[in-house]
Symmetry: C2
Subunit: 447 residues, 2 copies
Amino acid sequence: MTAPRTQFSLGAFLMQTGHHIAAWRHPEAQADAGSNFRHYVKLAQQAEAARFDAVFISDSSGVRSRNLASLSRTARSDQFEPLTLLSALAAVTERIGLIATASTTFNEPFNIARKFASLDQISGGRAGWNLVTSSGDGEAENFNLSEHVDHSLRYERAAEFHQVVTGLWDSWEDDAFVRDKESGLYFHPEKLHVLNHKGKHFSVRGPLNVSRSPQGRPVVVQAGASETGKDLAARTAEVIFVAHQTLAEARHFYSDIKQRALAYGRQPDELRIMPGIFPVVAATRAEAEEKFRYLQELIHPVVGVALLSQMVSFDLSPYPVDGPLPELPPTNGAKSRQQLMIDLARREGLSIRQTYLRIAGARGHQQVVGTPKDIADLLESWFKDGAADGFNIMSPTHASGLTDFITLVLPELRRRGLFRNEYAGSTLREHLGLKRPAHASAPGSAH
Amino acid sequence: MTAPRTQFSLGAFLMQTGHHIAAWRHPEAQADAGSNFRHYVKLAQQAEAARFDAVFISDSSGVRSRNLASLSRTARSDQFEPLTLLSALAAVTERIGLIATASTTFNEPFNIARKFASLDQISGGRAGWNLVTSSGDGEAENFNLSEHVDHSLRYERAAEFHQVVTGLWDSWEDDAFVRDKESGLYFHPEKLHVLNHKGKHFSVRGPLNVSRSPQGRPVVVQAGASETGKDLAARTAEVIFVAHQTLAEARHFYSDIKQRALAYGRQPDELRIMPGIFPVVAATRAEAEEKFRYLQELIHPVVGVALLSQMVSFDLSPYPVDGPLPELPPTNGAKSRQQLMIDLARREGLSIRQTYLRIAGARGHQQVVGTPKDIADLLESWFKDGAADGFNIMSPTHASGLTDFITLVLPELRRRGLFRNEYAGSTLREHLGLKRPAHASAPGSAH
């Protein structure tokens, strides 16, 4: 058992023009962010200079909506494929972690294992894989499927996918490659391990044609918050990104997951829980509220209703926008996200419009509008009250919102000793305080 | 009809430690090239400074052999996944083209379309996709298949794959994204084109979530040289990489492909043919021959026989190494490569050992050992005699072999006016003299 950490981790969740749905219309926004590589270089280098643990890129295997009236008014239709983007960013950064989302629903494990192992090599041990299952509108139809894969089948496939990928990452022992020019021996044959996986969803022989990477295995991140998702995460995730609206919810989730992990024979500190935080910060509360109001007024109602419809997997456009959220049928999509929206609307008695205004920035994550002290207080209490090991910062606008967080909030966090001044290590695992996993063949290896 | 080009194109085919099978044992070789990103940065920047059209990375979706005795003596088991590598190189180069191999057998077209479109965006129009079908040992078994996909089925799938990918690249018209902050319109809905592809192998709705890229479409490269492969290439390729042993063969192939292209309604200059060349160069012939002899002596016989076995898709290890190549059964693997080996051995009456020594560097491509003048003469004659539009340079060792070509051969080629001193354009298409394709919706578009 290691001593509890006194500092938390920070991720910079880089979403094109910013996390607020109308961010791209802001005068300071880089409206073409989705196809502007220089924009991302600037963001990543800025986050690295501020000593964030990692940048994080989410993904969708298709445009995010079929509602053209709404889609054509948002900046979510053009985006870089995350691994392509992070590989390029690896070459122009030195220390910051690089976490890319890749779907287990529409990929083959051999390809995913190779790409993340390669990224880990290229970046010198900074790769993280956000393992997701895909349920978004219009994704399945880009992959030979007429409808979404059933929720439980998606998770079953995801669990086996994880098993194959981590198995392939251990194809070679750390010291397999000797490359002895004199004798002509390139690797020790006995240090090569052929996976020979045969399961319900996958049959993969291996070995991987990439040597064991600097981190041993890239960091595995998950965000599923359904019962099945939580169970998979407790068993296999090393970082969990999660959305909460209240400290109570966050604490409950935190202790639930750590308990589940213990039941799987894992130590609580083998797993970092990082809720998303949407901070709107300014020197005074009035200024912060004005900043937020300005952004909210940029939301077209068609966009707001469509966003909420997507979050609950149900078309709300026929309902009066100032009326209540109707009863919703169970979804085969992201179950936990739907429930989060229902709970929010019911708890506070919100109309459809009020609900979409509440999620237009944070999409169900904790939103905080205030001074640097307000935001530092919130992060400190979540960290100290057993609700979080770190936070995934979702800036309202990019780059200006990230700059605000760095210049206004970070100094306050550092004054309190809650965030690092300098990187202590060089890999993502080291930033997060996660151990480098022993090779599967090592005595006592958990794999 | 444009005027014939007076200068040819050059690609730098970057194969880890070099193209010679024993290159890694050379004192000058970077033995850990397969997991050394800095090595590739150096090679790519060197090729760019020399004004090559492109760097090119081949691929294998698995280790290249099950013969452990041989595999453990070669440097082919650890390599970067090509797209991951080239994305990273995009960030540290400015002008050179970036051609990555990606298999149509083990990928989904939506993923491939996204990745190459993203690479084209990130690199400012320098992406090329080497479209291959996969038949290598041990590849199919990494993807839920117990044996290789049949040759004709692979090509049928490849043709449809190409159709889907190029269709997805035209999901958006060039001026679809207006990003008008004032009105709130991000894109013109009528400039979005949904593919709705429904074919035998793929059902893909689209649209792609990447805007139309700088080159309109990344450059499509192919290397298939079987009858089916040539037909697909004549119909769809913009660059063809090919292996020839003689000028006569190369001329025949060149005119055959350009004729086939005409039959498909394409102009001969819409398609560049680039044979591979394996140059061993030194100031004198004696020095060059000594250089080559030195490399040849580093080949372990187990490695040589295994290499040839793989080229002919047949295990030759039971046969006497100094006896002739036996009669071979037809292969379901790379048919043209098998035939190339048989022709070579029969034409010159070579033993198994003599044959593997002949291909240990060039693997069936043209090998030339000599002075800068010898090599320039060969390239000039192939170019002027209608056998090539350019060449894919396969240096024996990396980086020293590439350095030799640049410092010794390029000045001679430039003196003859056969190769550029400076880049004229900024995209790969511009380097190759290929037109930017009009969007599928444009009047008269061929798509």
